[in-house]
C-alpha cells in the first residue's frame, strides 16, 4: 500500500510538510514511531524541513559519509542541504551540483534522489535535466508538483496542465494536486484565481494547516484578484508568524508598491532577511537594464 495514501502512516507528516509547517514536521513526528519501511521517508522529510528552516549545517553534519554512501536518499539530502547552503551564501553551488549529478546518475529511480536532485538541477538552470530525472517517478505527487512548478517556471502552462490532469486522474483530491492546480490557476487567471484562493484560504485559515507559506499564498491570490486590503491582512498575519519570511516580505513589497507607498523600508527588510532573494537580484538587474536602455538616448538640456 502506498504509505502516503489517506490511511497510510506517512500521511500526516507529509501533509504537514506540504503545508510548509516545518516546525510541526520536526516536532510532532518521531521517526522511531514509524514502521521500518517508513523510517527513511520520515527522516528525509524531516531533513528537508530542516533545510527549509535554514538549518543546513545540522543536516549536513547529521548525515555521515557512510550513511550517504549506503543510502542514496540520504546522500541526496546531504547534497541538497549543501547546495541550498551555498546558494544562501550567494555562491553558485557548482560542487554540490556536480555531486548531485553524480548521485542522480546512479539512482535515477530513487524518488528522494529525483526530488532533491531535481530541485537542485531546476535551481541551477537546467530544468530540462531536472524534468528528465523527475519524469521517471512512479506516481509520486511530490514529483508531479515539482514537475508542474518547473513547467510553470518555464512558462509551459500546457505541460503543467497536462501533468496536473494526469495527476488528478490517479490522485483525485490529494492536497498536492489541489495546490499544483492552484499554482496553475494563478497563471491562468480569471475564475481560476478565485478557485486557487479557495484552496489557499482553506489551508491558511484552518488552524491545523495554517502556516506563513499558506498565508502568503492566500495573500498572493487576493492580490491578483485586486483585493489589496485583504491581501495586506493576510500578509501581515504571515509576517506576524514569521517576521523573516522572505516570500511574505517580497509580496509585502509588491503590495506596498501597488498601493503607492514608500517601499524603501520594505526593501531594506527583505534585504536584511534574505540578501540572496531573487526578487532583489532581479530588481537590480532591471535597474541596470534601465540604465542601459536609457543610455541609447542622449537628451539635450541646453540649447
Amino acid at each position: 500500500m502506498d504509505p502516503f495514501s489517506s490511511d497510510g502512516e506517512l500521511v500526516h507528516i507529509h501533509t504537514a510538510f506540504t503545508q510548509s509547517q516545518y516546525p510541526t514536521v520536526l516536532s510532532d513526528f518521531d521517526p522511531s514511531s514509524f514502521s521500518a519501511n517508513n523510517k527513511l521517508p520520515v527522516q528525509v522529510l524531516q531533513y528537508r524541513a530542516q533545510c527549509a528552516l535554514g538549518q543546513y549545517d545540522d543536516v549536513i553534519s547529521s548525515i555521515s559519509d557512510s550513511d550517504a554512501k549506503s543510502t542514496p536518499d540520504l546522500a541526496a539530502v546531504r547534497v541538497y542541504a549543501s547546495f541550498l547552503q551555498s546558494s544562501a551564501r550567494g555562491s553558485d553551488g557548482s560542487d554540490a551540483l556536480a555531486e548531485a549529478e553524480r548521485i542522480a546518475a546512479g539512482n535515477k529511480d530513487n524518488l528522494s534522489v529525483q526530488l532533491l536532485v531535481g530541485t537542485i538541477l531546476a535551481r541551477s538552470g537546467s530544468p530540462e535535466n531536472a524534468l528528465e530525472l523527475l519524469i521517471r517517478h512512479q506516481g509520486s505527487l511530490d514529483a508531479v508538483a515539482l514537475i508542474i512548478q518547473i513547467h510553470l517556471s518555464q512558462n509551459r502552462m500546457d505541460l503543467a496542465v497536462k501533468e496536473a490532469k494526469s495527476a488528478r486522474s490517479f490522485a483525485q483530491d490529494a492536497l498536492l494536486v489541489n495546490l499544483a492546480e492552484s499554482w496553475i490557476g494563478m497563471r491562468k487567471g480569471g475564475e481560476e484565481y478565485q478557485k486557487a484562493f479557495y484552496v489557499f484560504e482553506e489551508l491558511a485559515q484552518s488552524p491545523s494547516s495554517s502556516s506563513a507559506a499558506t498565508l502568503v499564498s492566500q495573500a498572493v491570490s487576493e492580490l491578483h484578484m485586486g483585493r489589496v486590503e485583504e491581501a495586506e491582512t493576510a500578509l501581515n498575519s504571515a509576517l506576524a508568524m514569521e517576521p523573516e519570511n522572505s516570500a511574505a516580505l517580497a509580496n509585502k513589497l509588491v503590495l506596498d508598491t501597488i498601493l503607492g507607498r514608500d517601499t524603501e523600508d520594505a526593501k531594506m527588510k527583505l534585504e536584511a532577511a534574505d540578501a540572496q532573494n531573487e526578487m532583489l537580484d532581479d530588481f537590480k538587474a532591471k535597474r541596470e537594464a534601465f540604465q542601459a536602455a536609457m543610455g541609447k538616448y542622449s537628451p539635450k538640456f541646453e540649447p
Partner: protein, 1216 residues
C-alpha cells in the same frame, strides 16, 4: 427409552466444567472450570471470546447478570468475584465464606447474589454496596446449591445433610427495599425487625424442610412458573416436590441414573425435567408421567452440571472434559413446496399453507397433535399435488410416518380422518401414487401405494441412514460418508458420490440440479449425481433454495449467501436470527423462522445475477444490469479481472492506470496506447513495447520506441521490418545526434560502406577506413586514404578480409502492415454493448467498441500520422538541409516539448502598445522606444522609479515546493481575462489615485504657497501619468487634461519661484536694480498667465496686483485688478481689487515699462519665461504642451523633464 442422538450445537474441550451460565441475549456461555479458569464462549461461532483467571482453585459457581454486563463466580478459594465482561476484569471480591463456594446466582431483580458454601451457610450479598446482607444457617452439612425463586421471595437450597430447604426471605426484601410511607406502625415493625435481626433469624426463615433423599442432595431448582421443585442427589434419584402456601411434599421420583445425580432442572417451556449424573448420561423426563423421554450417554465423561437457556430451546451440560450445548428438539419446521404454495407444520403441529402469489398465510388446515409424542415435532413432509395429500414423518416412537389427505378448504385445526401410518424414519412421495418409506431399524425401503400396502421392497446400500427424493422414480440415499442415487424401477443404484454428513437435499425448480447440504458444506450435483461444485462454510449451514435462474441461495446461522454453479459465492445479506429458506422470487426470499412463521426478506440479487450473466455469457443482461444498478465498483472490477474477463472489466474502468493494465492484460493495444499516451510514463511505454512486440504490432512498437527515444532499438526494428527508408532516416538522426556508434550501426544495417568509411575518417581511424574500403573493393577510396596518411599500399599488410557481406534485403514489406492477427477487439460483450448503442443511436455508446469498428483507419495510422505525413511530403530524403528539419519532426516527442515558453510578461509586451505595459513586462527598452515615438521622450532618468515601480508591482511570489524558489506570478488589471492575447498587467497608481493624490497635493501646496513642494508634486503627476494605463477613451482624455493642468501649474510655480529667486519674498523691490525690478515685475505678471484653476489664478492675480501696486506699476495693477474682478473667485480679493482699481484708474501708468500686455494673447516660454505671442514661431513639448522659444527645440522640456521639445510624436497612448 430413546437414546437417539443429541442435537449438539457446540462442544468445547477443557478440564472439568463445574459451572455453566447462559447469557440471556447473546450466544454466549460462561463455563467455570475445575482448573480455576472461567471461559466465555460464543457457542454459535464456536469461539472462545475470553478467559478470566483470578480464582485460586476450582470455580464451581457462575452466573450472568440478566441485564448488566456482569457475571459472578464462586470458587474453592472461598471467594465470590463479580466481573465485568466489558472491561474484562474482576470488579470486586466478596469475602465471608469459610469454605468452598458451591453455587452463586444473581437475583432476578434485586441487586443480590445468593451463594452456598461448604461452610454450611447460604449467604445473600448486595453487590451494589458489596455487603453481606444475610447469612442463612440451618443446614448441618455442606450446602451444595441455593437458588432464588424466579418470582417470589423464596430460596431453595440443597445440602449434603440430605435435606432440601425452602426459605422465606420476604423479611429481607422488606428491610432492604426503600422505605415508602413510614407510618408509626411501620416504624415499630421495623424496629421490631431490627430487634429480631440481632438474633439473625427473621430476615430469612426456613419455610419447609424437604426430606426424602437418602444421601446428600447435590442440586435443586424451582420450576419457572409452577410451585414445583426438582432435586438431584447422591442417592441417584431425581425427586420432584410440590409446595403450597403452607406445606410442601414429595410428588414423585425419577429413577434411572445409576450413579450420583449431579444436577436437575425444569425445561423452561415444556413439561420436561432434565438431569445429569456421574453415570455419564443426560436424561429427559416427562414432568407429568415422570417417565424417561430421552437419554444421552457420553462415553467417558461424567456430567457435573446442567443449565438451560432462559429464552430459547438450548441447554448446556458440563462434564469431565468440557461443555456441550445442545437442544432437545428440532426447530426446523417440516415443510413442502409445490409451485406457489408452501405447506408447513407449525409449532402447534398444525398444517398450514402459504401462497407466494398473494403472500398470505392460510388458517390451520389440520392438527397433527396425535402424530408422535408431545414435544417431538414432525421431521419432514412430502406433498402429493395429484392427491392433495401429505406424508409426514416424526422421529417419535422410533420413527413413524403418516399419510394424510388435506382438506379442500382450510377450516381450522381439525383432526385428520382416513390417515394411514406406519413405522419409518423417512418417507417421500416418489410418484403420483407411490411413496417410499425408509426404516433404519430394518434397513429397508418399502415402496407403498396410496392404500399403504407395500408394492416393492428395496434393500438400500449398507449404512444408509436417510432417504430423500431423488428425481422422478429415483431416491437419494444418504449414508454418513456417501450419497447414492437409486432407481426404484430398475431397483438399482445409478450413481454414488462421496459426500460426508449430508443432512438435507434441495432440488432446483427445473429438477436438473440438487444441493446437498451438510453441516459445513454445500455440494451442488446434477440430476445424475455428478458433482458440479462444492463449497465450505465455517458457519453452520441451515438451509438452501434455488433461484429460478439456477443460483443457489443458502442460509447460515447469520447470513444468506449465494453460490453459482461454478462455485463462486458471496453474501447476499446478514440475518439476525436463523431462518429456513423455502423460495426466492425476484428480490424476495421466503423463509420460515424457528417459530414456523413465514417471513419475507428483501435481498439485492444484482451481484449474483451479474455474475451469473457473466458465466452464462448473457451480455445483454449484463449490460442491462450495468445500466440499471449501481453495481459497478472496485470489487466487481477486480472480480472480473480475477475471473479472467479483463476485456469486460475494461468497460467499467475510468482510471487510466487501471485501464492500461486491463488493456494490456486483454491485449487491447488500442486502448493501451490511448492510456499510455494519457499517462505518458516511460515504464508504461516500456510495458506497452513488450506487449506490442509479443503481438507483432510493430507500428505500436515503433511509436513506443520513439517515445522512449530508443534509437538503437528503433533502428533494429526498421531493419527487422525491412523499412529501408526509415533506417536511412535513423542514420541521419544518428548523424545529427553525433552518436557515432549509432551511426555506425545504422550504416551497417543499411550496408552503407561509404558512410562507414567517412565516419572512420572523421574519427581518424584511417586503418579501419582503409580496411573497410579495401574489403569492399573501393580502390580509389583506398588510394585517397593512403594519400591522406602519407603511406604507400605496400606498407599496409592486410589479413584476408574475404568477400564483403551486404545486409540481406527485405523480401516482404513487413513494415507496411502489422502482423495479421485474429480480430481481437469486439468481444461478444462489446458487441452487445454496441448493439445497444445502435438501438439508442447514442454516439457515446462507448468509445472502445467504436474504436474497434473504425480501427482500420484512425487507429492503425494514428500513431504514425506524423511520420507518414512526412513521407507524403517526402521532405527528408531530399537533401541534408531538409533532413535536419524533418528530423526535428521525427523525434517530435521531445523537441516540441523542450524549452521554456514565453512568460506572461512577454505576452503583455505583445498585447499592448502602452509604455506602461511594456515596463511591467520588464521590456524597458521597448517601453522607452514607445515613449520616444509617442511623446518624443529622450531623458528617462526621471522615469526610472516609475518604471521600477510598475515592474515591481506586477510580480508576486507564490511559495511552491519546498526548496524551490517561489513561483512568480503576474498581476493583471484584466482580472477576468484568461485569453492570453488579451491579458494586461496591473499598473499601479491609476488616474484616480494620481488625481486624488499628487494632483490634490500640488494644488494644496499652491494654496499654502509652498511652491517647491507643488512643483515636485505636479512633476510627479506628469511622470505618473506619462507611464500609465487607463480603461477608456474618456479616462484617457481626463488624464490628458490632468497632464496639461499639472504642466501649467509647474510652469506657473516655476515662474513664481524664478521671481522669488531674485527678489525673495520682498514685496517692495525698490531697492533692487531696474533690471531685476523689471524682470521681477514681468515674472510676477507672467505668473498669472498659465491656465491654473481659477481659484489659483486668483491667487496669482492677487499677488501680481499687489506686487504691481506696491511697485507703482499702476497700469499693470489695474489690469490685474480688472482680471481679478472679472474672474476672481474670492470676494475679499475682489473687494481689494476694486479699491486698487479705483486708485489705479486715476493714473493707470507703469513706473517701469515691462514686457507684459494685459490684453494680449500670449504663452510663456517654459524655459526662458518670456512671452510667446500668438503667431510667433514656437515649439511645444509633445507631452505636456508647454511652449518654448524656438531656440529651445530639441532640448529636454523643463516641465516634464523627459521629452524633447518640438520632437516629432504620435501622441501619448494611455488606453488600448
Amino acid at each position: 427409552m430413546n437414546t437417539s442422538t443429541m442435537l449438539t450445537k457446540f462442544e468445547s474441550k477443557s478440564s472439568r466444567a463445574k459451572g455453566i451460565a447462559f447469557h440471556p441475549k447473546r450466544p454466549w456461555i460462561l463455563v467455570s472450570l475445575h482448573s480455576s479458569t472461567i471461559q466465555l464462549w460464543d457457542y454459535r461461532m464456536g469461539t472462545l471470546i475470553d478467559r478470566f483467571e483470578e480464582h485460586d482453585g476450582p470455580v464451581r459457581g457462575i452466573d450472568f447478570h440478566k441485564t448488566q454486563p456482569l457475571f459472578v463466580s464462586g470458587g474453592d478459594d472461598y471467594k465470590i468475584k463479580v466481573w465485568s465482561y466489558q472491561t474484562r476484569r474482576c470488579l470486586f471480591t466478596l469475602n465471608g465464606h469459610l469454605d468452598y463456594v458451591r453455587t452463586v446466582f444473581f437475583h432476578h431483580e434485586l441487586p443480590w447474589i445468593i451463594s452456598s458454601s461448604d461452610d454450611q451457610t447460604i449467604r445473600i450479598w448486595n453487590w451494589q454496596n458489596r455487603s453481606l446482607i444475610c447469612t442463612m444457617t440451618g443446614h448441618n452439612h455442606y450446602t451444595m446449591c441455593a437458588q432464588f425463586h424466579p418470582k417470589e421471595d423464596l430460596v431453595v437450597s440443597a445440602s449434603l445433610d440430605q435435606s432440601v430447604r425452602v426459605w422465606d426471605i420476604s423479611g429481607l426484601r422488606k428491610k432492604h427495599s426503600a422505605p415508602t410511607s413510614m407510618t408509626f406502625e411501620d416504624q415499630i415493625a421495623r424496629q421490631a425487625q431490627n430487634q429480631a435481626d440481632m438474633f439473625g433469624n427473621t430476615d430469612a426463615v426456613v419455610k419447609f424442610v424437604l426430606e426424602g433423599h437418602d444421601r446428600g442432595v447435590n442440586w435443586v431448582s424451582f420450576h419457572p412458573t409452577l410451585p414445583l421443585i426438582v432435586s438431584a442427589g447422591d442417592d441417584r434419584l431425581v425427586k420432584l416436590w410440590r409446595m403450597s402456601e403452607t406445606k410442601a411434599w414429595e410428588v414423585d421420583t425419577c429413577r434411572g441414573h445409576f450413579q450420583n445425580a449431579s444436577a436437575a432442572l425444569f425445561h423452561p417451556h415444556q413439561d420436561l425435567i432434565l438431569s445429569v449424573g456421574e453415570d455419564k448420561t443426560i436424561r429427559v423426563w416427562d414432568l407429568n408421567k415422570r417417565s424417561s423421554v430421552q437419554s444421552f450417554k457420553r462415553e467417558n465423561d461424567r456430567f457435573w452440571v446442567i443449565a438451560a437457556h432462559p429464552e430459547i430451546n438450548l441447554f448446556a451440560a458440563g462434564h469431565d472434559n468440557g461443555v456441550m450445548v445442545f437442544k432437545l428438539e428440532r426447530e426446523r419446521p417440516a415443510s413442502a413446496l409445490h409451485q406457489n404454495q408452501l405447506f408447513y407444520i407449525t409449532k402447534e403441529k398444525h398444517v398450514r399453507s402459504y401462497d407466494f402469489t398473494k403472500n398470505v398465510e392460510s388458517p390451520s388446515m389440520l392438527s397433527l397433535k396425535k402424530l408422535g409424542p408431545a414435544g417431538v415435532p414432525p421431521r419432514s413432509m412430502s406433498y402429493n399435488p395429484a392427491e392433495r395429500s401429505i406424508l409426514v414423518t416424526s422421529p417419535g416412537d422410533n420413527g413413524i410416518y403418516e399419510l394424510i389427505n388435506l382438506p379442500r378448504d382450510a377450516s381450522g385445526a381439525v383432526e385428520p380422518s382416513n390417515t394411514m401410518r406406519g413405522q419409518g424414519n423417512a418417507a417421500v412421495f416418489v410418484a403420483r401414487n407411490r411413496f417410499a418409506v425408509f426404516n433404519s431399524s430394518t434397513s429397508q425401503i418399502d415402496i407403498k401405494d396410496l392404500s399403504n400396502s407395500t408394492t416393492k421392497t428395496i434393500k438400500p446400500p449398507h449404512g444408509t441412514s436417510d432417504m430423500v427424493f431423488g428425481g422422478t422414480g429415483c431416491l437419494l440415499l444418504i449414508a454418513p460418508t456417501m450419497v447414492y442415487l437409486y432407481d426404484i424401477q430398475q431397483k438399482k443404484q445409478l450413481a454414488e458420490l462421496a459426500v460426508t454428513g449430508v443432512k438435507y437435499v434441495v432440488w432446483s425448480t427445473d429438477g436438473l440440479h440438487a444441493a446437498l447440504l451438510s453441516k459445513h458444506n454445500v455440494t451442488v450435483v446434477d440430476k445424475s449425481l455428478k458433482q458440479v461444485s462444492t463449497l465450505h462454510e465455517t458457519i453452520r449451514i441451515k438451509s438452501a433454495c434455488w433461484d429460478d435462474a439456477g443460483v443457489l441461495l443458502y442460509s447460515t446461522l447469520n447470513h444468506i449467501k449465494y453460490t453459482l454453479m461454478n462455485g463462486d459465492n458471496g453474501i447476499v445479506r446478514t440475518l439476525e436470527q436463523t431462518v429456513y429458506l423455502v423460495r426466492v422470487k425476484g428480490r424476495s426470499v421466503y423463509c420460515l423462522d424457528r417459530a414456523a412463521k413465514p417471513k419475507v426478506l428483501t435481498i439485492d440479487p444484482t451481484e449474483y445475477r451479474f455474475k451469473l450473466a457473466l458465466v452464462k455469457r448473457h451480455y445483454d443482461e449484463m449490460l442491462n444490469i450495468i445500466k440499471n444498478s449501481s453495481l459497478v465498483g472496485q470489487s466487481i472490477i477486480s472480480y472480473l479481472q480475477k475471473k479472467g474477463y479483463p476485456e469486460i472489466a475494461l468497460q467499467f474502468v475510468q482510471d487510466p492506470q487501471t485501464r492500461f493494465e486491463l488493456a494490456v492484460e486483454c491485449g487491447n493495444l488500442d486502448v493501451a496506447v490511448e492510456m499510455a499516451k494519457q499517462l505518458d510514463r516511460p515504464q508504461l511505454w516500456q510495458r506497452l513495447t513488450n506487449e506490442a512486440l509479443a503481438h507483432g504490432n510493430h507500428q505500436v512498437v515503433e511509436m513506443t520506441y520513439q517515445k522512449l527515444r530508443s534509437f538503437d532499438k528503433l533502428s533494429f526494428l526498421y531493419l527487422a521490418t525491412g523499412d529501408q527508408e526509415k533506417l536511412q532516416r535513423m542514420a541521419k538522426i544518428a548523424d545529427h545526434r553525433g552518436d557515432m556508434i549509432s551511426r555506425y550501426q545504422n550504416s551497417l544495417y543499411l550496408g552503407d560502406v561509404q558512410n562507414r568509411i567517412e565516419m572512420f575518417k572523421e574519427l581518424d581511424q584511417y586503418p579501419l577506413a582503409y580496411l573497410t574500403a579495401k574489403a569492399n573493393g573501393l580502390d580509389d577510396q583506398c588510394q585517397e586514404i593512403l594519400e591522406a596518411c602519407g603511406m604507400a599500399e605496400d606498407q599496409v599488410k592486410l589479413p584476408n578480409a574475404g568477400a564483403p557481406s551486404a545486409p540481406p534485403k527485405a523480401i516482404a514489406p513487413t513494415f507496411k502492415a502489422n502482423w495479421p492477427t485474429r480480430a481481437t477487439g469486439a468481444s461478444s460483450f462489446e458487441k452487445a454493448m454496441l448493439a445497444e448503442g445502435d438501438e439508442t443511436a447514442a454516439p457515446d455508446a462507448n468509445g472502445y467498441g467504436e474504436d474497434d469498428l473504425l480501427a482500420e483507419e484512425p487507429e492503425r495510422n494514428g500513431h504514425l500520422e506524423e511520420a507518414e505525413d512526412d513521407d507524403a511530403a517526402a521532405g527528408w530524403d531530399m537533401g541534408d538541409d531538409v533532413a535536419a528539419e524533418t528530423e526535428e519532426d521525427f523525434v517530435n516527442v521531445e523537441s516540441t516539448e523542450a524549452g521554456p515558453g514565453s512568460s506572461e510578461a512577454d505576452l503583455w509586451t505583445r498585447n499592448s502598445p502602452l509604455a506602461a505595459d511594456h515596463a511591467a513586462g520588464g521590456s524597458f527598452d521597448t517601453a522607452m522606444n514607445l515613449l520616444s515615438r509617442q511623446i518624443g521622450a529622450v531623458n528617462f532618468q526621471p522615469l526610472e522609479e516609475r518604471f521600477m515601480e510598475i515592474y515591481q508591482a506586477t510580480r508576486t511570489f507564490l511559495p511552491g515546493n519546498s526548496g524551490m524558489p517561489p513561483l512568480v506570478n503576474y498581476v493583471r488589471r484584466t482580472l477576468t481575462e484568461t485569453d492570453s492575447r488579451k491579458v494586461l498587467p496591473l499598473i499601479p497608481r491609476d488616474l484616480e489615485s494620481v488625481q486624488s493624490g499628487e494632483l490634490t497635493a500640488g494644488k494644496n501646496a499652491m494654496k499654502a504657497n509652498k511652491l517647491e513642494d507643488g512643483v515636485v508634486a505636479f512633476k510627479k503627476v506628469l511622470h505618473l501619468l506619462m507611464v500609465n494605463a487607463v480603461s477608456s477613451q474618456a479616462q484617457a482624455q481626463e488624464a490628458q487634461a490632468a497632464i496639461k493642468l499639472a504642466a501649467q501649474y509647474v510652469l506657473a510655480m516655476s515662474i513664481e519661484l524664478e521671481r522669488r529667486k531674485s527678489t525673495g519674498k520682498e514685496t517692495d523691490i525698490s531697492s533692487f536694480s531696474d533690471d531685476i525690478k523689471k524682470r521681477s515685475l514681468e515674472l510676477s505678471a507672467y505668473f498669472t498667465v498659465p491656465a491654473m484653476e481659477p481659484q489659483h489664478q486668483t491667487l496669482a492675480l492677487f499677488s501680481a496686483m499687489n506686487f504691481a501696486n506696491k511697485n507703482k506699476q499702476l497700469g499693470s495693477a489695474l489690469g490685474f485688478a480688472n482680471a481679478l474682478i472679472e474672474r476672481g473667485t474670492n470676494a475679499k480679493f475682489k473687494e481689494t481689487a476694486r479699491k486698487i482699481k479705483a486708485v489705479c484708474e486715476r493714473s493707470p501708468n507703469d513706473a517701469l515699462d515691462i514686457e507684459f500686455d494685459t490684453f494680449g494673447e500670449f504663452d510663456i516660454c517654459g524655459a526662458s519665461y518670456t512671452p510667446i505671442y500668438a503667431g510667433e514661431t514656437s515649439f511645444a513639448c509633445p507631452f505636456d504642451g508647454i511652449k518654448y522659444q524656438t531656440r529651445y527645440k530639441g532640448t529636454v522640456c523643463r516641465v516634464c523633464e523627459v521629452c524633447a521639445i518640438g520632437a516629432p510624436s504620435s501622441g501619448l497612448r494611455l488606453t488600448i
